[in-house]
Symmetry: D2
Subunit: 153 residues, 4 copies
């Protein structure tokens, strides 16, 4: 039932600190969303694009929906690896598959699908992904998936 | 596109503070999971059961999976209403439908399904829901749904 | 050694949730700063002034310095009372004495002094407190303290 | 008024993520306490001692008091350096001087003194610092300061 993950193209190492844990002795479930947001940010940065630099240009990114399955709890002092793999994108959104792994044995602690939408910072309305982000996604997402999913937009 | 919600049996009022917001000017998406956890806790408490009192008896509750759709962003100073409606349960789990509403106009800001599992605090292994929690769920969940979903366990 | 507090003019009730605790079984120490910020906000709101409404007028408030002494740890499910007593103010700042009490026995869990500065939202530079805030402070701070402390500015 | 810091013996690099910021566009003031806690943890780890490994031996560490001065606000995407310098210790406590710097120009964003106490995890009562921690502190704290401050205990 506990799954091990193959190496992903992008994995952000994250250490679990006391601030992340709760009185149940494990990482508080909402914290995984923080970890995944950091990994998306660092993936984009690693590709030479500033995800948040856009705030100055009235561009913001918001999570539109996500699902997450928690398999094994992360604990204090654990070293985690958080993946961020773009799997599809449309004119105003991008979908990521993201896993949180325990670095020591690559056990999958959580598995998630996240849709991030590009919005205007002032109005909150959807807006077209910036050129450089579209190019980045086009280089990293399998063409076939893009075609299938774009129709959902 | 923006939906208004009818009155739910349980609604926890929550105020948005500066700590909940981010530089995008809206509530950080992971915060909704905090709000929902508070609402589940207060629903159980309102029924006379201490959700977390169980820690002393080696009982803990963990989120096993959830999906959430974010429709409209909550903002600083907003007054929210967070629902927590049990919709199904099995021997070791309970499912909730949870919405975050803006109190002023009852607009649905987010809609979510959350499965919470009962585990042993020390081992993290699934364990049977305590009697009083089972009775509470039996009184609050439509029987037909329980029957259908229990088979998923 | 453990002190009990007399009734303060303003006390915000706050419940401790699992999100506030850490693997040490107590409330994470930084969370008290959240509680105190909520209490300052609600004190101002209770006086009919919107502390954060100012964001639209390029006014923001930032904590400039604080000291805090932690006497007794808050725990899961505790009901707290958080005070926010303005004790002095100058042209651009206001000082608060703030305590976190356990509601059940009014034990003082933490005691703190917080200086909040008024700044321009865009530049972050200090700016004069708005009229309505100055009036509010003048009505609530003992004149003698104001005089003494203003010279620190 | 804005100060630059010389190189410290221990500096933890920390990136500011969207989760750390608030609607004022800056890092929420309580987050600095998280950053400092991470730096203390990593300093201890870098010395070969597991700060939190103690939980299994009924040892926990709690912040007993702190003061912090915020000089310049950290912002989204900033790279920070967080110092953790032990400056004194007693039988049951250790004092740290901690600064948060902006990596780009070593500007001091905040300056803080933090007292951490060693407590029994179950009772919360003060207990003697473990041997390896005492040795670590003895090697890193100037003797003269230790002598002076121990008398405060």
């Amino acid at each position: 039932m506990v799954e091990q993950a193959p190496e992903a193209r992008f994995e952000l190492p994250i250490r679990v600190y006391i601030e992340d844990t709760d009185a149940g002795g494990i990482v508080f479930h909402a914290k995984y969303l923080h970890y995944m947001e950091r990994a998306r940010t660092e993936w984009v940065r690693s590709c030479g694009v500033g995800l948040r630099a856009g705030l100055a240009d009235n561009i913001s990114y918001v999570v539109q929906r996500l699902d997450i399955h928690y398999a094994v709890a992360a604990r204090l002092d654990d070293e985690l690896l958080v993946t961020a793999e773009p799997v599809a994108f449309g004119r105003v959104w991008m979908d990521f598959r993201q896993r949180v792994l325990r670095a020591a044995d690559r056990k999958v602690l959580s598995d998630s699908n996240v849709r991030v939408a590009c919005v205007a910072l002032d109005t909150g309305r959807p807006r077209r992904l910036p050129e450089n982000m579209q190019e980045l996604l086009a280089r990293n997402v399998q063409p076939i998936e893009t075609i299938n999913r774009t129709s959902q937009e």
